[in-house]
């Protein structure tokens, strides 16, 4: 009974935490200057300098000033972030966006790293667990004195007697 109430407590706690995180993430940028800063870091300067629009400052850039003005005008006109990004992509090409979009083939760019990482993590955990289960079997095997002796000899020869602790 006590265990059940403890589990319920932890579940409710996790739900509250998830809700708080979701609320935090769902909140949008609130004012024009923070939106300008945010969008300026999601767009590239198209002059070929390979810098973010919000950070492009190289001497004599012919594009960034005009593009920043376009961005300010679009924010002032009340366009949404998606509309602004879409209009820049339509006008200057997909390379004007600093990161792949989250739909179509571009979505693969976002999913693949996490999918690969999750698969590798899961695989590693399963592998270690499988090895752990079989540890009794491993322990039952006779140690290989020849290999141990060889390793000891190598340690002596290379002066690495006590450096393996790290």
């Amino acid at each position: 009974m006590r265990a059940a109430s403890r589990i319920t407590f932890w579940i409710k706690g996790a739900q509250a935490l998830a809700l708080a995180i979701a609320v935090c993430f769902s909140m949008g940028a609130s004012n024009a200057s923070s939106r300008f800063n945010d969008l300026g870091h999601r767009l590239m300067c198209t002059c070929g300098c390979a810098q973010l629009l919000g950070e492009c400052n190289h001497v004599g850039c012919t594009e960034s000033g005009r593009e920043r003005n376009e961005l300010s005008a679009a924010i002032a006109a009340g366009d949404s972030d998606d509309q602004i990004l879409a209009s820049f992509a339509a006008k200057y090409g997909a390379t004007a966006l600093a990161a792949p979009r989250t739909h179509g083939f571009d979505l693969v760019a976002w999913i693949a790293p996490f999918a690969v990482f999750a698969a590798a993590l899961l695989g590693t955990i399963l592998l270690v667990r499988q090895w752990s289960v079989g540890k009794a079997k491993v322990a039952a095997q006779a140690p290989n004195p020849a290999m141990d002796a060889l390793r000891e000899k190598i340690r002596r020869e290379t002066g690495a007697d006590n450096d393996g602790g790290f």
Binding site: F25, N57, A94, F114, I154, D161, F166
Partner: protein, 687 residues
């Protein structure tokens, strides 16, 4: 000199080819035991001597190029394109690696230099060194073939010889550019040595792990060079490019970071092989991957596959590198399949919560980070292939994907050393983790209290959130490492009645590798704190007439004048800005803009005033063409100096790890004779 240089390169190619073929035949004869007119040992020795002579030949070619630069020999196309008469001497030297052909020559020279040392020290293990030397010769043949036939540095200019050259790219005319590329190349090229040993050991079914111990020094030195090269590049970008940052996730930056990640993974996982005879296949593939990523990075940036502000001009050498990469991969796969039975692990992991597992997860995360960067770098090519149009994969992608992985890695940096080998108990976990956990959560509370909160103006702020997590984890990890030092030093102090500092010194000397590694981890933590500071960067840009003011953070900049200067190399304009804090003048700062005469290219020279808390970073952006007023952009970048301080710790830690540990016998001699004999087990051999 051009003819001498070209001839020297041809001789070097011939010697490398002889080294490769004679070495291969000798090793084959040794393996099969076939009788021949010449003994295989003698043949292998002639191959080794050819390798040594090859170094002299490549050195001759490198000398010829440097000589030509210093003597303004503009009949050589490379010199005409990358130097001019007024170029200061250190930058003339740097012209050696400022272009495609010269930098490949530097690569070949460094490779020959590494090979020279390897071949001179062959008596450590004659047969293994013969294998490694022959594999190294194969790599040398490739690079020398590229230099001789695809990107010759001594090709002569067609038509009339100009009186002066085009000059060096202004971006490269900065002191760090004299040392950053050689450091980076020493790192890239250096990974060829552990690669050659690993492949050679696998080919000859080398018994045991001695090859790893032999190459440990090579790998660590190489890793150190790559680390220094990367951070010098970051500092150069910060001080020269003028955008206020130091890392832009540019493909060239990524190309240097990927082998660093796999090399770091290798340095950690080899310890598993040395101690437990585990992860043999994994280690072999890690070092293969590190070498191939070095070549892939070169292919990406020199072959024009991806666009980058750093990339060399597009050329046909990309095809050469592609073919070479395919051959290397094929050789690695073939050798591995043929010899994989030799790489069976002698032991297995026993627990999910153990030092071994932490190494495994550390490797996993490092490789995940490497994959993310490789994926992001190659995705534009993939997208163009699939959709027909390129996309940009810039900082927003990496910040969202790579930062969480990086923070997890830093977390593991703290967790790993606290876990014992084999398995651990819940009690041991509680004992080891309680203080770092308290430190971590205390940091969270303090950060929230002082305003580092993951929300701003009612909205979630990812930058602040990551900064908060980074600060908390960093303090937790630092505490964990510090507790390891204190625990060990405490035991020695009790054993030997030394004070804590002397005991710490002895502790480090007894196991330099382990505690050097911890010092490197402290450096990483300090770097992470510095990187987290970027979340709080702020900037102000304004046209400043005389006596106009620009407030930023605690400072106020007042324009007190503008001045001009010129020399044979460039004309420059300075802004003279007095910096006030709390109404008192603190210092003067002078951001500069130069126009280089030979190339007529402009260049900003950032003025930076650095204190531990922040950098005041001021850029003179030029004048507004409409108003004629100078434009000043000022940044206040918190904690940047921590990044450079962290690197110093990393370098120091690497040097410590390279110093041989005191053997138990020597260590015992250092205990004063009047002290009682140690009653506790000696430290340094792990938990």
């Amino acid at each position: 000199m051009a003819a001498f240089g070209s001839f020297a390169l041809l001789i070097a190619l011939a010697l490398a080819a002889y080294n490769l073929f004679a070495g291969t035949i000798a090793l084959r004869m040794l393996a099969t035991g076939q009788p021949a007119r010449i003994s295989p040992e003698r043949l292998a020795d002639t191959a080794r001597r050819a390798g040594i002579a090859g170094f002299i030949a490549v050195s001759g070619a490198a000398f010829a190029l440097v000589w030509s630069v210093f003597n303004n020999d503009f009949s050589i196309t490379y010199i005409m394109e990358h130097s001019n008469r007024a170029l200061p001497a250190p930058y003339k030297f740097a012209a050696l690696w400022s272009g495609q052909e010269g930098s490949l020559l530097l690569w070949a020279w460094l490779l020959a230099a590494y090979g020279f040392v390897l071949r001179l020290t062959h008596k450590t293990d004659v047969k293994l060194y013969a294998y490694a030397g022959t594999i190294l010769a194969a790599v040398q043949v490739f690079f020398l073939a590229v230099i001789n036939f695809a990107a010759p540095p001594f090709s002569l200019l067609k038509g009339a010889i100009p009186d002066d050259g085009n000059g060096l790219n202004p971006l490269l005319q900065y002191p760090e550019m004299v040392i950053h590329p050689p450091m980076l190349y020493l790192g890239y090229v250096g990974f060829t040595i552990p690669f050659a040993f690993a492949l050679g050991a696998l080919m000859m079914r080398y018994p045991g792990e001695k090859w790893i111990k032999i190459t440990r020094g090579w790998t660590m030195v190489t890793w150190l060079f790559l680390t220094m090269g990367i951070f010098l590049g970051m500092h150069w970008a910060y001080a020269v490019l003028g955008w206020g940052g130091y890392w832009g996730w540019d493909p060239v930056e990524n190309a240097s970071f990927m082998p660093w990640l796999t090399g770091t993974a290798f340095l950690h996982s080899v310890m598993m092989q040395e101690r437990k005879g585990m992860m043999k296949s994994w280690n072999v593939w890690l070092i293969f991957s590190t070498f191939m990523l070095s070549i892939l990075g070169t292919l990406l940036t020199r072959g024009g596959l991806v666009s980058s502000v750093h990339a060399f001009a597009q050329s046909s050498i990309g095809d050469w590198f592609m073919v070479f990469l395919v051959i290397v991969l094929a050789v690695c796969i073939f050798t591995y399949i043929l010899q994989r039975s030799h790489l069976k692990s002698e032991q297995r992991l026993e627990s999910l919560v153990s030092r071994e597992s932490s190494f495994l997860f550390n490797n996993l995360v490092l490789l995940a980070a490497c994959f993310v960067i490789l994926w992001g770098t190659l995705f534009p090519i993939l997208s163009e292939y699939v959709q027909g149009s390129k996309v940009t994969v810039g900082p927003p992608f990496y910040n969202r994907v790579a930062i969480p992985i990086g923070l997890f890695l830093v977390f593991l940096t703290g967790v790993g050393p606290l876990l014992p080998w084999r398995a651990t108990s819940l009690r041991a976990i509680r004992r080891n983790f309680v203080i770092p956990s308290i430190a971590l959560w205390s940091t969270v509370i303090v950060c929230l209290a002082v305003g580092v909160r993951p929300w701003k103006d009612g909205s979630f702020d990812a930058g602040n959130f990551y900064a908060l997590v980074a600060f908390a984890i960093s303090v937790g990890v630092f505490t964990a490492i510090l507790s390891e030092f204190l625990r060990g030093a405490g035991v020695i102090s009790r054993q030997t009645h030394r004070n804590l500092f002397a005991a710490t010194y002895l502790l480090i000397r007894r196991n330099t590798r382990r505690y050097g590694g911890y010092i490197i981890h402290i450096g990483v933590v300090i770097v992470v704190v510095g990187l987290a500071g970027a979340a709080f960067n702020r900037s102000e840009e304004r046209e400043l007439a005389l006596h106009d003011k620009l407030p930023i953070g605690p400072y106020t900049l007042e324009c007190v004048g503008f001045t001009q200067d010129s020399n044979l190399n460039y004309n420059s304009e300075y802004a003279l800005l007095d910096v006030y804090r709390d109404g008192k003048k603190q210092f003067q700062i002078t951001p500069e803009k130069r126009v280089y005469l030979a190339s007529q290219q402009p260049q900003t020279m950032v003025a930076i005033h650095s204190v531990p808390g922040w950098d005041l970073y001021v850029v003179y952006e030029g004048t507004n063409p409409d108003t004629g007023q100078p434009i000043i952009k000022a940044f206040l970048n918190p904690l940047v100096s921590w990044i450079w301080a962290g690197v110093v710790f990393m370098v120091f830690g690497t040097f410590v790890a390279l110093v041989p540990s005191l053997t138990p016998a020597t260590a015992a001699l250092r205990i004063p004779a009047t002290q009682p004999a140690p009653s506790e087990p000696a430290l340094g051999g792990g938990h």
